[in-house]
């Protein structure tokens, strides 16, 4: 696999806050990434800098091996419609799509027409009169039909109902299968997008918390459920990121894979193993990081 984006020591400081703090990561070609994290974690800032819509305070960004800023040969291969995208004042949805067609070399008009129908987008209505969901649909259609080699979706589902969201996920997967490309999907509905994601990047307070294959990540944790005493006995000495008790039953989420020996012990102790959802894992790892951060700072003299 080759990387299409390389980010080295990227820092973005605003007057009061640090949105990205010395971040390094790479994005591989033809892969669907989940860019996960809480609101304000730095997701949109990261995507803006990668597409040269915003500027880094320090650090280096290379896309297709070159700097994206004012570089048409790099930019024309990327598409980033932001969550709060602005459109020309008098434009209709049809105008916006016609404008988009001008700049994306791999734009597919038939696909766009199909998506307009499926999302029931009133294309002749002025964009400022569209509902939040319809506005999101405009962005989703541009993102999908542009077929850009790197496509960023920034919380693309805001205001879309469950049916429309599923439609987006289905069309994304289907079109991705037919026309492989790199997709970066920023989201905080983690479990909803989890089936799409091949790799997960979690940002928390401007830092990369996780950068892992989704499957590997899932295998990193397991919930051990059963009699409280037995669970405590089993998890002793392991890294527990979360515990929950109801009566005499305890569920403890432990990090680290389970060996064959572990599984035999679990059976002997009459304990069950439940999979941890991606969302739970991310939430718990994020929380743990947040809790450990101040402690870490105190250690520094």
């Amino acid at each position: 696999m080759s990387s299409v984006i390389e980010v080295q020591n990227l820092t973005k400081r605003y007057r009061e806050t640090t949105a990205l703090d010395d971040v390094s990561f790479t994005i591989e070609k033809d892969t669907i990434y989940g860019l996960l994290g809480r609101n304000g974690a730095g997701k949109t800032t990261a995507m803006s800098i990668l597409t040269a819509q915003n500027f880094a305070t320090s650090g280096q960004v290379r896309v297709f091996g070159a700097t994206p800023f004012e570089n048409p040969s790099v930019l024309s291969r990327m598409c980033f419609v932001r969550e709060s995208q602005k459109y020309p004042d008098d434009a209709t949805g049809r105008h916006a799509l016609r404008m988009a067609r001008l700049f994306f070399p791999r734009w597919d008009d038939d696909f766009a027409t199909q998506l307009i129908e499926e999302f029931a987008l009133p294309v002749d209505r002025r964009i400022k009169k569209l509902s939040r969901g319809q506005l999101s649909a405009v962005g989703v259609i541009i993102g999908l039909a542009s077929r850009a080699e790197i496509t960023f979706f920034d919380e693309p589902y805001l205001g879309l109902d469950a049916v429309a969201r599923q439609l987006f996920y289905d069309r994304l997967l289907q079109d991705y299968a037919d026309h492989p490309r790199t997709v970066v999907l920023s989201s905080h509905l983690i479990d909803e997008v989890a089936p799409l994601l091949e790799r997960v990047l979690v940002i928390e307070q401007g830092q990369i918390l996780l950068d892992e294959d989704t499957d590997a990540l899932r295998g990193r944790a397991a919930a051990v459920v059963g009699d409280s005493a037995a669970v405590e006995g089993f998890v002793a000495g392991r890294e527990v990121i979360y515990t929950e008790s109801l009566g005499r039953v305890t569920s403890a989420t432990v990090l680290g894979g389970l060996s064959e020996q572990d599984r035999q012990r679990l059976v002997a102790a009459d304990l069950d193993v439940a999979p941890v959802s991606l969302q739970q894992l991310v939430v718990r790892l994020t929380r743990r990081a947040a809790e450990s951060a101040p402690k870490h700072k105190e250690l520094v003299p």
Partner: protein
């Protein structure tokens, strides 16, 4: 270059902004002025309605930055492509408007003010150097209005409302200082003499260096503006 021309097409996808509304403004101003001329019992009135589309261009200049620029960024257009394409569009629209203005003026001259005996297009001074000069004045002025709107919006976008407002106040103070200086030197006679001698066309040409500075500063701030 290809993508710069695509920016022109982007700006013209919605014909309303650059074509229909300015034409409607000019046509509306003409119609209203003609009705007024017809109602008044006197001839030889000079109406100011021909400048109406220019004020609209000021607004288009602002909006092309605050609204179209962010969208162009989503379409992976570079700031340079956006700037050149947008300026080209404004120039095209100003040219089209100037052609209509000249045609209107010639028609007005041929029909005795469309039968009213008053003036809408052939404003005194503007037509001193013939129809070509009048067309050039109209073109440059229309483009200048757009340029000023675009400039202010760029400064606002890049540096915020405080800087823009402070800048405009400083500009006003500078003009006042100029007025004071001319008064102090008792040079108003010479000043108006120079204005009369230079003529409207001359003054228009004098504004070109100023417009070039505005254009350069706009581009420099747009280079680092955020959508």
């Amino acid at each position: 270059m290809n993508r710069t021309l695509s920016v022109v097409r982007l700006q013209l996808v919605n014909k309303q902004t650059y074509l229909w509304v300015p034409l409607l403004v000019l046509g509306g101003a003409l119609l209203i002025t003609m009705v007024i001329f017809a109602l008044l019992p006197v001839e030889g009135i000079v109406g100011g309605g021909a400048q109406a589309p220019m004020w609209y261009f000021l607004v288009v200049g602002v909006q092309s930055l605050t609204l179209t620029f962010p969208f162009s960024q989503a379409l992976s257009v570079t700031r340079r492509e956006f700037y050149l394409g947008t300026m080209l569009t404004a120039l095209l629209a100003s040219t089209a408007l100037a052609v209509i203005y000249v045609l209107g003026g010639l028609l007005e001259g041929a029909t005795g003010g469309f039968g009213t005996g008053s003036i809408f297009f052939q404003v005194p001074g503007v037509w001193d150097e013939g129809w070509a000069g009048a067309g050039l004045v109209y073109l440059v002025l229309s483009f200048a209005f757009f340029q000023v709107g675009f400039f202010c919006a760029t400064i606002y976008k890049r540096f915020g409302a405080m800087v823009l407002t402070t800048g405009l106040i400083l500009l006003a103070l500078l003009l006042l200082a100029g007025v004071w200086l001319v008064t102090r030197l008792e040079a108003w006679g010479r000043f108006w003499g120079w204005v009369a001698e230079t003529g409207v066309l001359g003054l228009t040409l004098w504004s070109l260096p100023l417009l070039a500075v505005l254009a350069l500063v706009s581009y420099a701030s747009l280079r680092l503006a955020l959508p």
